[in-house]
Symmetry: D2
Subunit: 434 residues, 4 copies
């Protein structure tokens, strides 16, 4: 996470201010629950809420205490006691630091997931709008980077829409994975704290209770969360690379929006480079990489060790901030993408009709040619076209072995673009609903 | 995937025999659908089923054809034509190789997922049985590898149970991700094949239709599948490492079952090493590693490139066979684990009562000591015990600052083991149901 | 490692036959050394060599013994005793299994490295030959996929040559990392075996002694080895992607060799797809992925645990066989690459002279224009060309602000291709030597 | 990279101030070289140095310009022109942004490597001092976490020393990889700039010339750099995990230094947790993860794309700052490690003499027992000891099959600790020199 690739709302989730505020809420809700159970005085809970809610937690002061105690939660509690006074001794009763830390991390991840869901919604909205705009804009479909058969530009975007709709669903699942709360004490036995405290805090914080925790909330949940972000980032990369391909000089079927005043190159002023999508390609590599330490974090020793903590202090912000920035950028790129239907048509016509070869092949077999013969006939007329030595339609009409099966009109029929687009409606209905 | 770490049922999914059989089924179902639509003669479809169903596909012959054509599906279709005769020319009408290949891969992954689900069920069953067996077997809970407070061995296993129950749910989701079928032609437009063929084949093969494919089924699905296997492997690693810790000489609370005739070391005949769980630790690293190329596979160029194929030819078998082997091994390890409750008790008593320090701390604060004072009092009596210089209970009773708050009976009360285990039932009910 | 992507020589290194033969050599050399030291009878050593050298080790028999003992080296030694007779009891004296296993693994990796070095040499030879062939073949240089300024096709290959020359050097280093031998006993103290045995075996096997081993040879060595393979694979990917780009329909400056009889697509017979380089792209993902478990293998517990073993049984063959196959394929692709200089020239001319924009920019500043003014002038004449509305040279000559600084001849001078190629000799001398 | 795990010297390398200062040096040296070649006026170069050297570059102003131009180098040059005045138009003549950016990145990485080398030196110094301190401190060697045979604590540290000495050598190699300079213009052809400028700048900046660049310095160099950091981090993890094991309650042979005032647990005041080495374990996961995007960065498109840039903006600081922090922490941990020789001895005696089982085995075979018989005899006397039912020495003396081969004195001889330590000097000489 670096400022260059960060957006303030996501960054704020990971600020010390937010963290301490969440800690406060967890501790204060727990104190309320303890008071309801008669474990601590009600006035202690009241005082905590009364003095803690408006308080500004002094981060420098907390840091100072932590430098001495080398323990962040104790430092916070000590500072809270400075604000709340003697009643603070009823705070954190029977709890362990991880009750606060792990529940807080999950609150942060849930909030991050909510922002990411909004980001995906923006990507989806942009994709849908542009997909319908170009629903019937013909363009060449390419496999292996080689011209294959016609598709529409809307179909390309519809594919991306379907992919991001899946990603949305995955992210909803990943959010659910980490939306749990644990207030279960030093090794998760509730020895010193009633399970009802956990239930109360969970409800107040919008979380589910963690069925069984062992000082820590189990890290398979977080591994799944970050792995899911890695998959979403990979989809982001796919769309970014598609756009980079479309913008390359020889293709130029689409371009990232290029603002006035923007300079593409210090040396070559004519250049308009797909720098946003290249950037997204790099960011995807990072988000993907974070999935691995998250998985390595799962195997904590016994009831817990703290090796996961440094990893999460980094990838928590790094993965969510970077993906948020990337998705927002992607939504903007799609939204403002410059699309050039004329170039698409020009590229489509480039191969002298070769894109219709499969139709010719099928027509030949329908008329009784063996598959092998049909293949041979098509290929021997395709090769000269490929080498720039003629036009596929003309060559076919002149090949006596071909005309033995197909008349001129029948051959021409195979070159109709509409033929390829007849099911676009069907596919759009599948993707966007009827 | 190597024979040493393979089980035959999973290996069989990835054999050429299975692959060609699935290809045949896809092609034959598609021919049936085409016949129903009147595109090809019904007798062609009948003949394909009649002659293809009992046929043994000659893998060497297919390989031979592929060496010439450098194309595996064409090689198969050529061989099928050798079996079926001239009617074979109606097979594969309007389809593209990827229709067969991608649908086949998904059938294989779905079958692999089914085996893995059964594996997880075996792990769950073993964990549940042993968890209830040791529901109330006290053992020390450890954080940072340091004794913390008592838990039960059943709780350890219940945690693992809950984790694998989550993994089961994740795997069901991952199976759903890849349970799709695409028969959509060269670039996914259904130009030469009716979408109803896809619907028919999907239903026959137990799959959903892929809403939008582009010659290929999109690889975000497979990325999610393999990432999920990586998370499951990480949970496997966690449990394996727990057992390795329990078996180390100084702890020895549990041991892998050690069969007669087994030799632990060529040099040190007394040794009984946790080699199975060490092995699982290594296997987990492999399954986790496969998630990455799967994610890199997502960003195919345009409507498809074939860079994913070599990756999947490897990680398809490697990840599923390795995880299957690992989970089966894990289920056996748990099932036959030698558990030593007496050693657990001995270790629990090791620290001279220090595990009760938090209770003493709480009792002190309940009686009016400030948190800071209570902490100081507990720590100054704990440190000598830690150094082996005395017993915690005795020292506390002899500390006048402590006895200012707590009488002897009150101090002793804090040393009751039952106190820690009072919520084990609650937790078991959460994990295993009421 | 799968047969499809394997070459026999590398596969053979990892066969049980090879492994047992290496084990035999290590054990037999050690016995010789022990005899020289007077620890075991000379006739024992002689008998081992005499009966073991011509012996065919019965893999099924060894497997059978291992199934009972669950220990591979003991199984081998038991089988060796069946061959050698009672003198076999002097074999393996004071050694531990890992002495054999780890030294054997290193022998295998060293042999694998030697094959990979030969592979790189083949890649280098092909690159050099083709680089000189096309040393002066002009082609457009592209940054961001956008036309930049002219280069030559030879320069592209020279860059790849320099990169693979670096990879060669890295591989020499990686080979040196793993070329060590340990015969140091159960925990590396030489308690039961004289260090001179290790020195003797090391020399006989072409290895260095491991300065300090702890039952195992430390795995940072192997991590470095596999990480290096990952870097080499990434270079392989770079060159593969370059070729894939050059072959795409709109570019078509080069093509993979396309053999007679090869079929590009079951549906589209005209297609000639860069399937070999796409395949290499996928293989690179695999080799890269193996670096990670190799790094996770470093942190073995105490003097050793065996978690590394399952990883190495897989990635040992998988990484070396896959990279060997990939590099050999790459050498062939480069060697037989179809290069189309005419298309290169056509593409070079595509942008109506825009590739000369920087030269114009510089000429303007040389004549006194401020950098900002020059940039603005060039950009305003470049934009219409970019949109296909005119020719750069013509527009510049018609711009009075431009002609204030440069006359017609001076403008034309900036459009000279030779200007860009004047240092090709210099660069070739740097890369290939004078 | 987060402040919590950062040290100022390494952070400073990645500050905007440092970056702009390096840019300035590169540009100014290049201007000097251009002046020497007569391409630009000498007074321009002089003015640049004169006004630029003492200048404070205004980062906010540069950011402001970049927001408009969306190009960082142009923004810097514009700001430099504000400082230097009209002579600034001679700066950057014939260069491209990447000439500055890539050379700057390499300068930063070289400086980072120098700090890391100093870090490793500190780790080595601490390891060496403690290794000699405990050269002859006996401790049990463990394989699989199970007691094996005696070693010394000094040997453990000597192993780590040898490993970090290798890492030092690797880092020197990695530093060399990235110590190159490219000033070769838009596509690396030196079209607009004389290669002598590059040679001059390289020399001034302490770098080698990049033999062939293509706008960018090839990224295989950086991949190797970051992969090397990943390997070093893995060694850091190994040593950290060793210490974590030694500190666990049941072992307690060593402890991280525990300062006054430090609190181990908010709930359990007696706890002294190995939090520093747990932290290092997590940090290692991160540094390792960064190797992957660095490898993915290698395959840039054609002469360059900019996808590597966002990755490097993150992993450049993240990997070097995190590893620097980790190594410095590791040096401190080793330096101040609390070592408990008495506990080592106690643990060594724990298994009732079983650690001598191999010696007994060897003695039996030396006296004529077959290997299989000897193994059986040792194992049957070892098993009761393992179960806590007796003492190995006593049992052996009472076993008539054993005493058939060995007398009492001969048996006792096998239990001598000195026997195991006789080659410690040899090993120390290998590791630290004679």
């Amino acid at each position: 996470m670096i400022p260059r690739y960060s957006r303030p709302e996501m960054v704020a989730i990971w600020s010390p201010e937010t963290r301490f505020r969440i800690w406060f809420e967890i501790e204060a809700h727990a104190t309320t629950a303890l008071a309801q159970l008669g474990v601590v005085p009600q006035e202690a809970a009241d005082k905590v809420w009364e003095l803690g809610t408006p308080a500004t937690f002094d981060i420098d002061r907390i840091d100072e205490i932590e430098r001495e105690t080398k323990h962040d939660v104790i430092a916070f509690l000590t500072h809270l006691a400075e604000i709340v006074g003697p009643q603070a001794r009823f705070v954190h009763q029977g709890m362990t630091s991880s009750d606060v830390l792990d529940t807080c991390l999950n609150v942060q991840l849930v909030r991050a997931a909510d922002i990411l869901l909004a980001d995906i919604d923006a990507v989806l909205a942009a994709l849908k709008r542009r997909a319908f705009e170009h629903k019937m804009t013909p363009t060449i479909g390419r496999s292996h980077g080689i011209h294959a058969e016609p598709v529409t530009f809307g179909l390309k975007l519809a594919q991306a829409y379907a992919e991001f709709a899946r990603n949305r669903e995955r992210l909803v699942g990943a959010r659910r994975e980490v939306a749990t709360c644990a207030i279960s004490g030093a090794v998760g036995t509730f020895a010193n704290i009633d399970p009802r405290v956990e239930a109360y805090v969970a409800e107040q914080m919008g979380l589910e209770i963690e069925p069984i925790s062992t000082q820590v909330i189990p890290r398979d949940r977080h591994a799944m969360f970050f792995a899911t972000l890695g998959v979403i980032a990979s989809s982001m990369e796919r769309l970014a690379i598609e756009i980079r391909h479309l913008q390359r000089s020889e293709v130029l079927e689409a371009e990232e929006f290029f603002s006035e005043g923007q300079k593409g190159s210090s040396a070559m002023p004519h250049k308009r480079n797909p720098v946003l999508t290249e950037n997204l390609t790099g960011l995807a590599r990072m988000v993907r990489a974070y999935a691995l330490p998250a998985m390595e974090n799962v195997a904590l020793w016994h009831e817990r060790d703290i090796s996961h903590s440094s990893v999460e202090r980094m990838i928590g912000p790094d993965a969510t901030v970077t993906l948020d920035f990337g998705l927002a950028r992607l939504a903007g790129v799609v939204d403002k993408l410059l699309v050039y239907p004329q170039t698409m048509q020009k590229n489509l016509d480039r191969l002298g009709g070769l894109v219709h070869s499969q139709r010719v092949l099928l027509a030949l077999t329908q008329k009784g040619a063996s598959r092998e013969d049909a293949y041979r006939l098509v290929q021997r007329n395709a090769m000269p076209v490929w080498r720039g030595e003629g036009d596929f339609l003309t060559l076919l009409k002149a090949d006596p072995e071909v005309t033995r099966y197909l008349g001129d009109a029948e051959i021409e029929e195979q070159f109709d673009l509409g033929y390829h687009l007849k099911h676009v409606d069907t596919i759009f209905a599948r993707v966007f609903g009827a």
